[in-house]
Symmetry: C2
Subunit: 345 residues, 2 copies
DNA sequence: GTGAAAGCGCTAACAA
DNA sequence: TTGTTAGCGCTTTCAC
């Protein structure tokens, strides 16, 4: 029962003995149209199996109802959850989604942006790659007034919006928590300091040390690419440090987990000898023994709010021209950092 | 520096004093065109900032270079990894991706398919929802010769392709492994038996029991929706069973993990009292203590091969008209099932 | 090897 | 409230 012939508004118009433009209007709640004609049009269109041709419509209207998404990696729980939130909102609002991965590479990010631009996305949702050094590649978009919303890994950029948490405060809280538990040689494992998420957490870490009279020691800072292997490597470094550190604040859960695994393999007791705090509150944090203290990052909300903001901007380019939305995070204390005996306030 | 005026092939043509059709040809390696004219065209087009308008092109050519993806949920490691594989291949081949989630619901799946159909995707990649009861909603696609590739949760469907692993064999191996470890009251936790993945694994489980002279006991089969809570619930049921089971084969890692957590909370020793085998080899399986024995599922390959198959079909509708590709899986033995003392072969 | 011209299906300005 | 008409930018057939 193949029917390769497309039904167009002309066919519907002919069947009803009216004009194509009336059909077009009837199909989309145009104000100047009689209720009955509209009802007829919709009925007949449905009966004939009419399906609107978006290209023609797009070609006329110069927009695509499509939103582009560029993320560093798709296969992390955090990112997948963000995307799930985005997808929910966009699909509710009739937008399609084109998703692409920069694979943490600036170069690939540039090409993603360019591809999406060429696909004429109406707007863009972006979390920056690990090593992106400038934002020049966004100019093609901005020059054409295509709105860009950054989330998580954001950047200052004229006319863009950002959705984040207060990473500085989160870093401060995580570190303070370790200090409260009696730690005073706290290692920080972080990522590229050009990314706000890492630099802000690092700043929070330093400030918390300072506020508690602990001297900052650059040797205790390990900058890496924050994948699982990085946690293992960091643990190995830590094992060699003299005197041995007694706390770790790391910028994601997977490094925390792989560090714990490696440390325990070497016979280190967590949290008594080394207390550990991660970041993101991924499911894995509730599985590892001891359960991981971490910062709860509202991934789904980030996705939903980013998408909502972008769509608002698209629907009403005047509206909602904020620059940044900061969502709430929360320190989740679990066994990896709670020392019963020591210095507990 | 806003330039809202689009550069078209007409502008390029005018600048070069040639016709638009020649420009169109020059821009895409048309055979009948002089090398030099082509070079000129490309140079000038670039200089003028020409960007092809895909709608116009699509409108003419009747295809979109877009592939639709429908998955039950995005935020699982497995699915995110599949999508990562898909995205790699599609972007290499110049296809965009529209991703949508059925949220494990048949109803939502129907609406996803319809939305994607309306967006005129060239082809579709689908993993079925938990409770999808028939494939009627795919007819609109099939009637228009829009190819559909199923992966993971597949279904028999005329003219569709499927990418899977041998779930029957995997279930057989997992169960046999437990039997080798001395288990003979093995619980199976599975999902909706209308989904191939769950029914095949279940068949494998039963066959392995039969081949080892163990009587099948329906009471040891727990059918659930396979989320984390399901593992906890299953563990609670298991704790009440008399005599107590000594092995669990469950169809995913998250139920395995939550079951282990619950069992250990009740003081059950894993693997000595109850040995556990999961499915998927998610990262969490290497973190939980004891490490989880599981079936390695080549998620990224599934994604890559699904996408490649679809694109081949799209490029050459004659070619590669296989019905099923079966990828290799592998049993990964870890501590959650290895009993040193007992019956070890 | 290049050009002219028609038309993909839709929308919107304008006319009625 | 409805109809007429002129494109949106591209591809492609046909003619040269």
């Amino acid at each position: 029962m193949k029917s390769n012939k497309e039904v167009t508004i002309y066919d519907v118009a002919k069947a009803l003995n009216i004009s194509p433009s009336t059909v077009s209007r009837g199909l989309k709640d145009h104000p100047h149209i009689r209720k009955e004609t509209k009802k007829n049009i919709i009925a007949v269109a449905k009966e004939m199996g009419y399906q609107q041709n978006k290209f023609a419509s797009n070609l006329r209207q110069k927009h695509t109802n499509t939103i582009g998404v560029v993320v560093p990696k798709l296969n992390s729980y955090f990112m997948a959850t963000v995307i799930a939130g985005v997808e929910k909102i966009t699909s509710q609002n009739g937008y399609g989604l084109i998703i692409s991965q920069s694979q943490e590479s600036w170069k690939k990010e540039i090409s993603c942006i360019s591809t999406l631009f060429n696909s004429r996305v109406d707007g863009l949702l972006v979390s920056l790659a690990f090593d992106t050094k400038n934002l020049d590649h966004f100019n093609i978009l901005l020059n054409k007034d295509i709105p860009v919303v950054f989330f998580d890994r954001v950047a200052d950029c004229n006319g863009c919006m950002s959705i984040v948490i207060d990473n500085y405060k989160a870093g401060y809280e995580a570190t303070s928590h370790l200090i409260e538990q009696g730690c005073n040689r706290i290692v920080h494992i972080g990522g590229n300091l050009m990314r706000n998420v890492y630099s802000d957490r690092f700043r929070g870490y330093k400030q918390a040390l300072a506020d508690n009279g602990i001297e900052f020691d650059q040797h205790l800072v390990i900058i890496s690419d924050m994948n699982g292997q990085a946690g293992t490597d960091a643990a190995k470094k830590i094992l060699k440090m003299v005197p041995r550190p007694d706390g770790i604040f790391t910028s994601n859960d997977s490094t925390a987990v792989s560090a714990i695994v490696e440390l325990e393999r070497a016979g280190v007791k967590i949290p008594d000898e080394i207390a550990v705090v991660g970041f993101n509150n991924e499911p894995i944090s509730k599985v590892i023994k001891p359960n991981l203290t971490t910062i709860d990052y509202p991934a789904r909300e980030i996705g939903e709010i980013s998408a909502t903001s972008l769509i608002n901007k698209l629907k009403n380019s005047q509206s909602a021209n904020f620059s940044t939305i900061i969502l709430k995070h929360k320190l989740i204390s679990r066994q990896s950092s709670i020392r019963n005996g020591k210095n507990k306030n």
